[in-house]
């Protein structure tokens, strides 16, 4: 057996998704509203499900309700409904987050991850 070590350090560029990705690092839910049909996508769709690629950025409240949830060795994840978004969003749940305490809110995360946690009421 031959062992090869290959450490990889990627420098990924988000391109057109930059407003969304930067928003995640600050805990802001930056969505896309379609110019043709008004559908709000989060995560943003470059080409809307209606086929239009014209749109504008819009900032949602970041509050979301868990629709379905899965837990186990892989972690805690959910399909969530963000207030103001059409369609659902796949997210990670902070370990402290519980469905009973919804609505939950998007957390600031660097590297940029879609994470829901409890609202900071302090």
């Amino acid at each position: 057996m031959t062992t090869v070590h290959l450490p990889l350090e990627y420098d990924l560029k988000a391109g057109w998704l930059s407003p969304f990705v930067e928003g995640l690092t600050q805990g802001r839910a930056v969505a896309r509203v379609c110019a043709a049909c008004g559908r709000v996508s989060f995560p943003p769709l470059r080409t809307c499900t209606c086929g239009s690629a014209e749109g504008e950025w819009v900032i949602l409240s970041g509050r979301a309700t868990v629709i379905t949830r899965t837990s186990g060795l892989d972690g805690d994840f959910a399909l969530a409904q963000f207030d103001g978004a059409d369609g659902l969003t796949t997210v990670a749940l902070q370990s402290t987050a519980t469905v009973a305490q919804s609505p939950l809110v998007l957390q600031a995360s660097d590297p940029p991850r879609l994470v829901l946690g409890l609202e900071d009421t302090a």
Binding site: M1, P43, T68, G72, L73, D74, F77, L88, T89, T90
Partner: protein, 390 residues
């Protein structure tokens, strides 16, 4: 309908398992290829093209594997291309080869699928890489695993269909029981419902025993133009179809429905001029126990999944046996090899050449191979028909 010109003259695979014998993917490719060529009765220099399916360069640290294998297999001079569509890669390669032969430009093509999904890297590294099979800026960065995404999709489907743990256990037991009669299978096991319930919870409701394993292995086909085929009993490729769904589970109107599979099946059935009810055996993409039932519904193999499962319609002696091989859950899942092996199994079943205990005494007229990548983001199905020469 199209006028089918392609036949499966050669079909073979290696055992799927975790290799501990010092062999590597090139060895597995050679074994499967040699068996397929021998069955086909063609000479290596008659093979004009190689379609190689391999999901990831990371598994064996080999970029451009198609060119390397052409030399290894004595196919230098043939046209080579590598086909990749995640878990669907193998079926994509079968379909590209089919289209090339159907066009009349070539007479014989080799299709090889392989991956070292088990022995090349530790399991946690493989699972991390698989996490980047989904949109890397959203699901990938967030750390969603394939199991978690499938679990979320299943929850939507099972709620609509009234299915639960009993049905997951049924599929798990049936596939792995079938695997017990397949000498090439990775997980020939007989776990009772309690053992399944006691296995670790990976992503609820999926437990470890509801999941397909990471496997090593290869599969190979020789596809030939009917006019050039040395064997007259080779099954025909009568229908192919492929489609995609939205990459984000949450953007789909029904996160529990495999819409891409439904579309792919419609296209394949239209090409074949049949309805799904004509299918007499199916190899279905059961990455997880629930995914098999989602697939069965999307393919139109059942209108009443619960009832048909309970009544044994999908059992080895049922109306449409599903995953006689054991499927991904029982036979194993070396990513690139899966779709190729599914077609190989279907072809061998139609010719009466499958493993004795699993071979139906009267081969069905039509058999289906169903494959997908992502959470059914990319889907491809192929329908084979028993030769009239049998």
């Amino acid at each position: 309908m199209w006028d089918p010109q392609v036949v499966v003259t050669g079909a073979a695979q290696t055992p799927f398992n975790r290799r501990k014998d010092g062999t590597g993917p090139r060895d597995w490719a050679m074994l499967a290829f040699a068996d397929a060529v021998a069955m086909a009765g063609v000479e290596t220099d008659q093979i004009e093209a190689l379609y190689l399916a391999s999901e990831s360069d990371f598994f064996a640290l080999q970029l451009n594997p198609a060119s390397i294998l052409a030399s290894e297999l004595g196919l230098t001079g043939a046209a080579v291309v590598r086909c990749e569509s995640g878990g669907c890669s193998g079926q994509s390669a079968v379909q590209m080869a089919t289209l090339a032969i159907q066009s009349g430009l070539i007479s014989h093509a080799a299709v090889i699928g392989l991956d070292a999904s088990a022995s090349g890297l530790p399991g946690d590294k493989i699972r991390s890489l698989y996490g980047f099979s989904f949109d890397n800026w959203t699901d990938g960065m967030t750390g969603l695993t394939a199991t978690a995404l499938y679990a979320l999709s299943w929850q939507h489907f099972s709620a609509e269909q009234g299915l639960g743990p009993r049905h997951l256990a049924h599929v798990t037991q049936q596939n792995r029981t079938n695997a017990c009669s397949n000498p090439d299978a990775h997980l020939p096991r007989k776990d009772d419902a309690d053992a399944i319930d006691a296995s670790p919870l990976v992503a609820s409701p999926y437990r470890r025993l509801h999941c397909s394993p990471l496997s090593d292995g290869a599969a190979a086909l020789i596809l030939s133009h009917a006019k050039a085929a040395p064997r007259k009993t080779a099954p025909q490729v009568v229908g192919i179809g492929a489609a995609t769904d939205h990459m984000h589970l949450g953007a789909r109107s029904e996160p529990g429905s495999f819409a891409a599979k439904q579309r792919a099946m419609k296209r394949a059935c239209d090409a074949a001029g049949i309805h799904p009810q004509a299918i007499g055996a199916a190899e279905v993409y059961d990455a997880y126990a629930g995914a098999q039932l989602q697939a069965v519904a999307a393919l139109g193999l059942s209108e009443q999944v619960d009832q048909d499962l309970s009544s044994g319609a999908f059992a080895p002696d049922g109306r449409c046996p599903i995953n006689l091989s054991g499927g991904l859950m029982g036979q194993g899942a070396p990513a690139g090899a899966i779709g190729v092996a599914q077609v190989a199994t279907a072809a061998r079943l139609l010719e009466g050449r499958y493993h004795g205990a699993l071979q139906p005494s009267v081969p069905p007229e039509y058999a289906l191979a169903d494959t997908h990548g992502g959470v059914c983001t990319t889907a491809a199905v192929t329908i084979l028909r028993r030769s009239g020469g049998l």
